[in-house]
């Protein structure tokens, strides 16, 4: 639980409880705005540590991980599409994707092109991210997030800027890659759900 919520007595499916997330399982965490979805993702990704309780990876406390161990996890186990998207605005979409892929060496140029094509981004590949629409940026950031091996894919409100058509396209790509990698899905939503089959619903 975030330290900021420590004074609150109400318990949810996540805060104040033991929750186990397994590889291959798909979990949707629903909540109203401001209840800590993005904060939870930051805790899992090791970007914040201001929480009470413990987060364990295969029994190992994440608080004990070194900076290098976290970097390794972020390159090989935890793929993340943040709510704020996080493309570098001064780089083109292709450069944004290349930057991540140069770190992992995970995807071929053909896979990247095909993934972008499936999300209608081929025309944007050489456009600066700052000149893309928010919806295009969100889809582009998903392709970037998929450029790594993974045990879990964290999608923080991944379709908040997309219409139903692009929602389906994103869901299709995510479903395909989850099946291919055997990774688990941690999906957050405020009500505008990604159109994908879910195993478990949790409320935050």
């Amino acid at each position: 639980m975030p330290q900021a919520f420590a004074a609150e007595t109400s318990r949810t499916d996540v805060w104040g409880r033991e929750v186990t997330l397994r590889r291959g399982a798909r979990v949707r965490i629903e909540a109203s705005s401001g209840s800590g979805k993005t904060t939870l993702c930051s805790f899992i990704m090791g970007m914040r540590s201001d929480y009470a309780g413990r987060i364990l990876f295969d029994g190992l406390a994440s608080a004990s991980l070194s900076q290098d161990a976290w970097s390794s996890l972020r390159q090989t186990a935890l793929a993340w599409l943040p709510q704020e998207i996080g493309l570098f605005p001064q780089l083109t979409l292709r450069e944004n994707i290349t930057l991540k892929n140069s770190l992992t060496g995970c995807r071929t140029a053909a896979w990247i092109y095909e993934a972008c094509d499936s999300l209608g981004l081929t025309d944007c590949l050489d456009r600066q991210a700052s000149r893309m629409s928010v919806g295009q940026q969100q889809r582009g950031a998903l392709v970037r997030a998929l450029c790594q091996p993974m045990d879990f894919l964290l999608l923080d409100e991944p379709v908040s800027h997309l219409d139903a058509g692009w929602n389906k396209a994103v869901a299709s790509l995510v479903d395909r890659e989850l099946r291919a990698s055997g990774a688990g899905l941690i999906l957050t939503s405020v009500g505008h759900h990604l159109d994908i089959t879910i195993d478990t619903h949790l409320t935050l």
């Binding site: 972020r74 993340w80 140069s102 770190l103």
Partner: protein
């Protein structure tokens, strides 16, 4: 490990907000600071390897001459310094070596022929061992076996001033420079013990230290043997000591006061060594201050740069980039700037040292190799590099 183009993109992202102006100010500041410090160090080294016959302006040694106080009419009393006084002086912890003046035990008259005019005067000669005559003039030898032996003479600089500003104007005579005086041939008449002989003599130098008309000890020893009348007055009342401390040290004053001695030495209240030491300290201080200021500028610039790029760094870390890979981008940039600065310092030092080589030689300095100073400046630049990397490392957080 970041592949191919990723490294290039990383550089673009992290260095985009870097202020070239701030970096240039840092580079110029650290260049001047390291150059001044290295220059001062090299200057000191050059004087440390001075030619053997040149004075050492950085020597901490000083010379002190002790004379008995004369009050009223001091006929003969206490004129000669006895052995116990010399022994007492040599026993002082601040004395490196001490000896007595040797006076001529014969009469001396000198004359100078200036064409129409001829000047003559009775004189006195004294000598101190050569070790107190640094720098020793080239011609400071007397060969009694030569066909026409020449007596080299060193005059107190005050005597020339007395002539130029006192005697010459009152008699309508021209003022003489040191180099002119050194060209004038002198004739010295030596008489005593029933013998007389004429010698050629030449002024070979001027001294601030020895307040007497000095000739080589070898001449006085030889002359006293031939012309001396055995009066025993060849032991002068004056003692000279080389001291390891400042001439104004209270210990020296106490020693002199306890034995009713007066102190003299190199004229001028502050010796050249101390003036140079103070100048060197000031110059080095300015260099060090510039280095410190440059370090501050570098630190502030880096903190500002890291502040501007903090969101980029945070995103890169969330993508899986290590702190080390981010630090290496800044370290490489800083290393390139520092390498350029060091090369500029090295080139300036080498070129500057060559350019002032002649001036250094004229000033009595030698030419020491630049390698240790170049090494020291490289070490200094490495410290600056390390400082920069420490600042960056402490600021790269999530």
């Amino acid at each position: 490990m970041i592949h191919g183009k990723g490294q290039q993109l990383l550089h673009r992202l992290l260095l985009r907000d870097m202020s070239v102006a701030q970096l240039a100010v840092y580079a110029v500041g650290v260049y001047l600071g390291v150059l001044i410090l290295s220059g001062a160090l090299q200057f000191w080294r050059d004087f440390s390897v001075r030619p053997a016959d040149a004075a050492d302006p950085f020597s901490s040694e000083d010379y002190v001459i002790f004379s008995p106080q004369v009050s009223g009419l001091g006929f003969g009393s206490g004129v000669a310094a006895d052995d116990s006084l010399l022994r007492a002086l040599r026993a002082q912890p601040w004395v490196t070596s001490a000896d007595r003046f040797t006076a001529a035990d014969f009469s001396v008259a000198a004359s100078v022929d200036l064409g129409t005019d001829r000047f003559a005067s009775a004189l006195f000669f004294e000598a101190v061992p050569d070790e107190y005559m640094t720098p020793l003039p080239d011609a400071w030898t007397f060969d009694s076996t030569a066909a026409a032996p020449v007596i080299p003479v060193i005059l107190p600089r005050d005597y020339l001033a007395l002539y130029n500003f006192g005697f010459a104007p009152s008699r309508g005579l021209p003022s003489l420079g040191e180099d002119v005086v050194m060209q004038i041939p002198l004739t010295v008449s030596v008489a005593g013990n029933g013998r007389q002989r004429l010698f050629a003599a030449r002024v070979v130098g001027f001294s601030n230290r020895i307040n007497t008309i000095a000739v080589p000890q070898s001449f006085i020893s030889w002359g006293n043997g031939i012309f001396g009348e055995g009066s025993g007055t060849n032991s002068s009342a004056r003692l000279i000591a080389r001291v390891s401390t400042d001439r104004n040290d209270p210990a020296i004053k106490d020693f002199a006061a306890a034995r009713s001695l007066e102190i003299a030495g190199d004229s001028g209240s502050v010796s050249a060594s101390r003036v140079l030491a103070v100048i060197m300290a000031i110059v080095s201080g300015v260099g060090l201050l510039l280095c410190i200021l440059s370090g501050v500028i570098l630190t502030v610039s880096l903190i500002l740069l890291l502040y501007k790029t903090r969101s980029v760094i945070s995103r890169l870390i969330s993508l899986g980039f290590t702190r080390r890979s981010i630090l290496s981008v800044y370290a490489l940039m800083l290393a390139l700037v520092n390498a350029v600065v060091w090369i500029a310092v090295a080139v300036t030092l080498v070129a500057g040292h060559r350019a002032i080589d002649g001036m250094l030689h004229d000033a009595g300095a030698g030419t020491a190799t630049l390698l240790p100073v170049l090494g020291a400046s490289l070490l200094l630049m490495s410290v600056v590099q390390l400082l920069g990397m420490t600042v960056i490392s402490s600021k790269i957080k999530l």
